[in-house]
Symmetry: D2
Subunit: 193 residues, 4 copies
């Protein structure tokens, strides 16, 4: 059985909503899913470390704050030094996503940090492979139903307005998140074969 873990931090609920959409894609593709939420102190439970160590793929998720990965998630990233020397995550698959208030909001810095972390752990990085489906009519770029409307490939980027998570990110972003979860499972199954 393919096992995928999503380890994420969410400050106001928007990143959690994206994490849930990625998770829905993971389950829909027939994998076992572990949702692991990083606390405001950057910590996860010992049992959750075991779940990560036993996963075929780990998806990292965090909001972008002040232009890079949120502080609590960085505290978590630092704590993965416990598996660095043991190389326990070596050759696992990895992927990442980030949400912020604006379109770019420098989310690429966050994805870059996640890819670097994965590389330091010896992991294999799975890109976001869906093309942007926005029409090219003026003013239509980034419309609500677009897949990959922001145009991100190293990982998944979503954008949330300053409203409650039930209203944002939009349906296209959440659909892209779901497709990203499925892609990770497809890759994990192929990698495990």
């Amino acid at each position: 059985m393919t096992t995928v873990s999503i380890v994420y931090h969410s400050g106001y609920g928007h990143t959690e909503k994206v994490a849930e959409a990625v998770g829905a894609g993971v389950k829909d593709a027939g994998a076992t899913l572990h949702m692991i939420k990083v606390g405001a102190d950057g910590k996860i439970a010992d049992a959750e470390w075991e779940l990560l160590n036993a996963s075929d793929a780990i998806i990292f998720g965090a909001p972008t704050y002040m232009g890079s990965v949120s502080g609590p998630f960085k505290m978590f990233m630092d704590s993965t030094s416990r598996v660095w020397m043991s190389r326990e995550w070596k050759d696992k698959l990895a992927g990442g996503f980030s949400n912020s208030l604006s379109m770019s909001g420098d989310k690429l810095t966050t994805l870059f940090q996640m890819a670097i972390l994965a590389s330091q752990q010896g992991m294999i990085w799975v890109s976001q492979a869906e093309l942007n489906t926005s029409t090219s009519e003026p003013g239509k770029s980034g419309d609500a139903a677009s897949i990959n409307r922001i145009g991100s490939y190293l990982g998944l980027m979503t954008q949330a307005d300053n409203v409650a998570p039930q209203d944002s990110p939009n349906s296209g972003d959440l659909k892209t998140a779901e497709m990203f979860g499925k892609r990770m499972v497809t890759a994990a199954k192929r990698w495990a074969a």
Copy 2:
């Protein structure tokens, strides 16, 4: 007299339109402006090298192709090694902008490359300081009249649809470009004082 040069590459005219808007801001702020267009072979004329060497500030501009600075502009960047050893650009001001078809389109990689080039040349990097003025109503993020609608700070990001340059990028992006040109002049005057 404060002198600002904009050295840019443009494949289809959209980046040139942005360069012209930045240039309008530069002139409006009372500086001498040099517009220097990099050819498809990455070259500029000898006289243009002299203009760059005599400038108080240099603004780099290029489209983002396949996730980083366009090839012709990178050829130009490499050719600045001629001023690297002489340190002729040391302590000049620098800034950068990039345009692409999608919102992110990994334009941050391009700005990052430009900031790294400027740093290797010992230059001082001027950020894009305007906040995003999009409303936070759902679906309004990134509307056409927004200043800094993409949410970029290391430099200026604009987005152009796949239509003729007269129709895209939109008015908000061009206004942001103009403000960026003015900011560069304000900084150059203060730096020269």
Copy 3:
């Protein structure tokens, strides 16, 4: 009087030693220096926020952990959102440095994060402008007395072995740090004129 603050995190003392060398350069160049150490919880005192707000230039310093800025320093970076809306740091000068165990150790990610933070705050980024003075004899690259032996320009990079801070980083790295501190003062005086 020109005022420069160094706000830094140090886990084992090596980054603190670099911060002190940068600080020595700042004082030697005739500026008022504030050394502000970020706690393991990412916090600084209220009075220290006032010192930062009153500085002409702010130098960010942190170790690179797992390929990007240390968690505690990222917690501090997030907390600068309190000055983001007020734009209190707009047009101040900024610079950065990072230390880690290996030569690259992905320290460029950390400097990149710092430059992005500075840009979001509307600051002006001062590069590390000293060229690498290593000889080009085989095996001599990165020898102990070299200035900028690692070859870093966006900011200052130093490397510390896994020994006590009194023995590492080496003299060349510390000398480079001192020169970086002086450069920041020279820039701040010119900017304030």
Copy 4:
């Protein structure tokens, strides 16, 4: 039969020497190897495009010039837009390496650009997973026989002195390159299974 292509640019022969070491690892691990050299104009032959399209894994290699990927290699990267729409490289494995004169020399920017390109093409990125084997005695970091002496993980970094390619990069860097080639084959075999 597993097929791996190394597509690279080399200005003075040092990057080519690294490419050959990576290639030796690829062959030693039992894969078919294609060495494809990008010209100064950024071009490769039509038959070479076919070889790339038929490969299980593609390794990108280039020197770092002025802080990011060499101009000719960027011209090549831009020309991969011909396979972007067709998604011919989607789900292939990718990896990258860069060489420069100094230890960092901002080579991480080059690796980052390569990982972004691979992601835009929908590829899966294979990290450099060997830990740095330098001793932690003061002054021994980065000694000539070290594996991964520079401490790079997103891809392979090597450093060459300003001497003929037969004398530099050193044996440790070339050994690391060979191990990187082997790792790519191991991953490609597993991925193809």
